[in-house]
């Protein structure tokens, strides 16, 4: 099977012009078919502030009301996505920017209200991998922002990490998928105070050991559970680290395989 590289970058890379420029150059040099997924929560927050809107957070989770959804659409699908696409084109990478509504790539359902009404937030229902494959086959590099649609005309805010893993799972039917999660650290650490304490390899067994020992905890747990779920569902290999792991195999990062 053909290899497909899926890279997810977060707000920290996007919001620094120099880091973004270096990343876009690195990403453009990735051989073979590839997909980029980007977040951008900080831009939306800053922009909402400029408009005099304060983001509503419940238990640290953003509630997406109508004005905040519009801001997400403007910043994620507009400013961030289109500047990334233009930057990739500058690097001769034939990028095409997408929300899940474009080419009906990602269908979602508005998150059901239990105790909290998250507002215009969508949980991924279906990734239409045949439409993404059609774009890749035509020579384009899809660039996804963190928005999906309910197929009934409503755009929905969706977590970018989840979009990346759901696309990776769906594309595994036709490709050997490598999924790279880029963030500010070099990988998963054994000691949060020591940036050099990177766990370079994790599998189901070593992961269970680290969790039992309390070495991996808190925020990393859901992220890693999500990674193992993706591996169980067909993704070949996942890496967590900083953007340099894209350009070189020898850069230290956390390699995750079953």
């Amino acid at each position: 099977m053909t290899k497909l590289t899926i890279v997810k970058i977060g707000g920290n890379v996007i919001e620094n012009e120099k880091d973004l420029s270096q990343f876009l150059s690195q990403f453009s040099e990735v051989k073979g078919p590839k997909i980029l997924v980007h977040g951008g929560g900080k831009s939306a927050t800053a922009f909402a502030k400029q408009l005099g809107l304060s983001p509503t957070l419940i238990d640290g989770r953003r509630i997406t009301d109508k004005p905040n959804l519009d801001i997400a659409i403007m910043t994620y699908a507009g400013l961030l996505n289109k500047n990334i696409v233009a930057g990739l084109q500058q690097n001769k990478c034939n990028a095409i920017g997408l929300t899940g509504a474009d080419a009906n790539t990602i269908e979602s359902v508005k998150r059901p209200v239990k105790t909290i009404d998250y507002g215009y937030v969508g949980d991924v229902k279906k990734v239409n991998s045949e439409n993404i494959t059609a774009l890749i086959s035509a020579g384009f590099t899809p660039v996804f922002c963190a928005l999906t649609h309910d197929t009934k005309g409503q755009l929905l805010n969706t977590n970018a990490d989840t979009i990346a893993s759901e696309i990776a799972i769906a594309m595994s039917r036709g490709f050997q998928v490598e999924l790279l999660y880029c963030f500010e650290l070099q990988g998963v650490l054994t000691d949060v105070k020591n940036p050099d304490s990177v766990i370079t390899a994790l599998n189901t067994n070593t992961y269970a050991d680290f969790v039992e020992q309390g070495v991996i905890s808190d925020g990393m747990l859901p992220k890693l559970e999500n990674c193992f779920r993706a591996l169980h569902k067909g993704v070949s290999h996942i890496k967590i680290g900083n953007t340099n792991m894209i350009s070189s195999e020898s850069v230290i990062c956390t390699n995750i395989q079953l």
Copy 2:
């Protein structure tokens, strides 16, 4: 040759929710391959005002400085384009929203400074029809907003009427192109005070007569000159009228052919 329908809609249709919803349903029912091009100047102006920015106009022409370009990207490529795409998907039309940077569809050059520096405004240099054709062949309906790129990483504001005619000309190499300009009137009028005085047919001869008689003047002249230029460059047929001409051949509008 296969027929390709290209429809351009202006701000007046987009900014009225009911009109837009009706239009999206009409457009979705157009048979065969199709392309939508939309403007949206009023939204950008309203939004700029909300942010405390006043648009700079010289001789009635908008100057696009950096903050106003960002607003154009957010409203045209973000809010308007993505809501149109989601609305078309609701109507089972597999739309894909694009700026000229996406899939490198429209290359432009920043307008040279003569007496006026228009700022981040691009004049179309090249429409890469093979990339648009690839999207159409894959079953998608391209939806263009009024932004292009210089291939060096810069997005540029570009007139939506011009984008529509340049796409129509470029696509004429592979398709029999019909271009429909939708606006608030039923067509070109002989008497601006009488909405029923629609000129139902124009060709190079009748057009010259109307201009000589002073019946067609002012703002319509550049629009129509642009239409005849497109017809001379291969576009088969152009119609000017309101959105109802999309769904029915019997609706009164101005038909333009050589």
